[in-house]
């Protein structure tokens, strides 16, 4: 009994000290100069722009990675081919490689003197130091989540239900939407939540490819850093609070969506 209590105290104490306390302090400091100051710092043009830019990146990166993630998981679980192990490893690359390196890699490809960057710039398409590059970076860093959540679920459900649907006359398309997708929906949902959280919070890769132009290529995370470096502490904390609330809402929506019988 005592040892179980000790174990619980360690777990809770660790979380409190390293997670809850610092995040709580951010909330506290954000309101240090009063609610008015907090509100003012969030309603500046730059802050508004940063907020909507962040939402835009999430709105593009998350659906793309969801569709790609489900397709990729299907390929990994249901098909056998040469180089499958390689593909499997490549999917984890964004986990393994530092976001800063990812940012630099994108510049090498799409930037000036880059592999296809010059051609793009000549044709009037700016990728680096612009929104497309930031979206690419966000997609890159948040790519593995849906795949990794869906693969084990697909393995677990097996192919028998799909074959049963086939013998009952369902086309591959009907089988996917009526049988496979409902069977993996909680895996997909959890993957979407993690992808969203990652896309909201991405800093390193986006920071490198954005050029950090206030009011143009500045997301919420970049805004926090910018304000912090200009000693606008209340402003930095206020933007942080918005980020934290968005993340909490994402996680909460997952728990609300989840059926009672659980995964």
């Amino acid at each position: 009994m005592r040892s179980r209590l000790a174990l619980r105290s360690v777990a809770i104490g660790y979380l409190a000290l390293l997670l809850a306390f610092p995040v709580g302090l951010v909330f506290f400091r954000a309101f240090e100069d009063g609610v008015a100051a907090f509100w003012d710092s969030l309603t500046t043009a730059d802050a508004q722009h940063a907020f909507w830019l962040t939402i835009e990146m999430v709105a593009i990166a998350v659906p793309l990675n969801t569709v790609f993630g489900v397709l990729c998981a299907l390929v990994l679980v249901r098909q056998r081919f040469r180089g499958k192990a390689l593909l499997n490893a490549a999917i984890d690359l964004p986990f393994a490689v530092s976001p800063v390196v990812i940012g630099l890699a994108l510049i090498l490809v799409y930037g000036r003197n880059g592999w296809i960057g010059d051609w793009l710039i000549e044709n009037g398409i700016r990728v680096i130091f612009s929104t497309p590059g930031m979206i690419l970076a966000t997609i890159f860093v948040s790519l593995p989540f849906v795949v990794r959540e869906v693969v084990p679920v697909l393995r677990e459900i097996g192919t028998e239900q799909e074959q049963a649907a086939e013998t009952l006359g369902a086309s591959p398309f009907q089988t996917f939407f009526r049988i496979t997708l409902p069977a993996i929906r909680w895996g997909v949902a959890y993957g979407v939540v993690l992808t969203t959280a990652r896309a909201l919070g991405e800093f390193g890769a986006v920071s490198i490819v954005s050029g950090k132009l206030s009011g143009q290529t500045e997301t919420l995370t970049l805004l926090v850093e910018n304000r912090f470096q200009r000693f606008d502490l209340v402003g930095a904390y206020a933007a942080s609070v918005v980020l934290a609330i968005l993340a909490l809402l994402t996680l909460l929506s997952m728990n609300l969506l989840r059926p009672k019988e659980g995964r």
Binding site: E160, Q161, Q163, A164, A165, E166, T167, L168, G169, A170, S171, Q174, R178, I179, P182, A183
Partner: protein
């Protein structure tokens, strides 16, 4: 009509699952594919369903060559070994699935589903999910789902394999009865010879991807084509160089020309059946299956000296048995 399989072969890598298999399943019949695991019976069933593509050979269903027809257009009903219930759907939606895919009218679907659920005795379970059903109920739901689309043939993969013994017995009788009512050409896979004998009109014995023998249950028992079939279907007892059915051995209390001298080792009373384990003077130990009345008549005791004689000609000659 019915199903005609011609010269079908199928390999999985180096493993030969089916080797030049040809088979005729009469329209409206009830056929068992019987054999040890890995013998190719499930693969043959899946080839008929179109879930597995044969390397060579043809499958004709109801007079139509379906070898190149995908499973979804073959008009077969398939019941999987573990029933493959659609877990996120209620019993009603499971059974209605094939009809919804065929875009039938709502009223028609409802009527057919009700009819089928009555047939499989699941009327009260419409709104349950598969996880809320017992194994036997899930199996019956899978059967109703397969029958809903009025398939030309019904294929069942180890239909009783995952059920406990009592439910199994019940469902066997029920399947037989259902078949008598529906007259749909039915093929089921089993590794249990008793099950095949009890349910099927025709048994196909498969081993190592080849058909060993096809025939009515009694033919297979009385006239097995070879040693494998003899051993796989029904009990066997050795006598000298030959194999016999253990009830085809007579026990004599006095010597007689051609009879083999032996000693009684154990007498096991199993109700109506009595099993006598004997040790011949030469050759391996064997046993005789006899009735309670006959054993009483003989007054057999352990250690007693007896003589064994085949009651009729052996079903398999020694050459074939070797």
């Amino acid at each position: 009509m019915g199903i005609v399989v011609e010269n079908v072969s199928k390999k999985f890598g180096d493993f030969v699952a089916l080797e030049d298999v040809s088979l005729d399943v009469r329209d409206g019949s009830l056929t068992a594919l019987l054999g040890p695991s890995g013998g190719g019976k499930s693969t043959l069933l899946r080839v008929i369903a179109g879930l597995e593509e044969p390397d060579s050979g043809t499958v004709v269903i109801d007079g139509e060559d379906t070898t190149a027809v995908p499973a979804r257009k073959r008009g077969v009903g398939f019941v999987f070994q573990h029933y493959a219930p659609f877990k996120h759907m209620t019993v009603r939606d499971n059974v209605a699935f094939g009809l919804k895919i065929r875009k039938r009218e709502k009223a028609e679907i409802e009527e057919r589903v009700t009819e089928l659920l009555e047939l499989v005795h699941l009327e009260g379970f419409k709104d349950r999910y598969p996880s809320q059903l017992s194994g036997g109920q899930r199996q019956r739901m899978a059967l109703a789902r397969a029958l809903a689309v009025r398939p030309k043939v019904l294929l069942l993969d180890e239909p009783f394999g995952a059920l406990d013994a009592t439910v199994r017995k019940e469902l066997r009788a029920w399947l037989r009865q259902l078949h008598d009512e529906m007259h749909v050409t039915t093929v089921f896979v089993t590794h249990d010879q008793e099950e095949a004998m009890e349910v099927a009109e025709q048994i196909v014995v498969l081993n190592h991807g080849r058909i060993e023998q096809v025939g009515a249950p009694q033919d297979l028992y009385d006239k097995p084509a070879n040693d494998f079939v003899m051993h796989f279907i029904g009990p066997v007892a050795p006598l000298g160089q030959r194999w016999l059915r253990p009830h085809d051995l007579d026990i004599l209390l006095t010597p007689e020309p051609g009879a083999t001298a032996a000693t009684v080792q154990h007498v096991l009373h199993l109700g109506f059946e009595v099993r006598v384990e004997v040790k011949p003077e030469d050759g391996e130990d064997t046993w005789v299956q006899t009735t309670r009345d006959r054993a009483r008549e003989l007054e057999l005791e352990e250690g007693q000296r007896i003589w064994l004689r085949p009651a009729q000609d052996p079903v398999l000659e020694p050459e074939a048995a070797a």
